[in-house]
Symmetry: C2
Subunit: 139 residues, 2 copies
DNA sequence: ATTCTTGCAAACAATTTGCAAAGAC
DNA sequence: GTCTTTGCAAATTGTTTGCAAGAAT
């Protein structure tokens, strides 16, 4: 999606292009992963201020537009990331808390099984696997 | 685990067997799945009253003892269930919100892949797959 | 009798909402 | 100028904590 493409999309739906919305999207892009709070903090590094409630409202809007998605990597707050770059499965290590990503094909067997056996279409992009990474397995 | 077995276990660790603890465990067992709030409501159907904070404290204790586990099926509240019956993968339908369970072997390919490729040991019992069930796929 | 547990209310954290002022079109 | 969006503060919701009274051992 080009820079102007989503501006068009916003306008087409009667929404407006505001600096806040651009800043939030930019922050999500730079952070890769981020909770609303983290995204808010990131935005504040560059711009003077964006209210936390605006961040929430913007993330909701961006999600509705399909530009970002979120997963629940921890119990406290949801984590947002670009939908375009969301084509991966999340791995969260219970030992060190490290979050990593792996190719979605990794889950192909599971996806195919669910589809064939139950007619359930899995959204791999929202898939998070908890466990222990190599380093934390021994410790 | 027999009825008395976990009573012994509680006492062995210096904890006490109280009606509240038995009621909460019973509620989790009957509900299958439940948020702290739902569990509290269930308990109140039979007994006069258990405070919500006691439910939280009890679930924390039961989890520590390995009798229950929890997953995050929605953004709002965690869902608790019996650890003994937790050997399954959760499916959550985005359409109707229905929560179902499937055999953990379904994820064998994924688990094996992560293990072999990254040395990551996945905890399948905490795995939740989001998507759309057969019924909601068309609608 | 001792020590763990509970209930209650207050403290907290994350998120949402109402509304007037500011901004995009 | 019209209608959306923002900021702010207050309201909600989910969860935790301090402490005195109550219960299990």
């Amino acid at each position: 999606m080009t820079e102007t493409a989503w501006h068009e999309e916003l306008r087409a739906k009667g929404y407006r292009v505001t600096p806040q919305r651009q800043l939030v999207l930019e922050a999500v892009k730079t952070l890769g992963h981020g909770t609303p709070e983290e995204i808010c903090a990131k935005v504040r590094q560059t711009a003077r201020g964006v209210n936390i409630s605006t961040v929430y409202r913007t993330l909701e809007l961006l999600e509705e537009l399909g530009m970002v998605t979120h997963t629940h990597l921890n119990h406290v707050a949801p984590t947002y990331h670009l939908a375009a770059e969301a084509d991966h499965v999340h791995l969260v290590c219970r030992g060190c808390g490290e979050v990593s990503e792996v190719r979605p094909e990794m889950a192909d067997g599971l996806v195919k099984g669910l589809e064939e056996e139950l007619g359930f279409v899995a959204d791999v992009r929202h898939l998070t696997v908890f466990g222990r990474c190599r380093g934390c397995r021994v410790a």
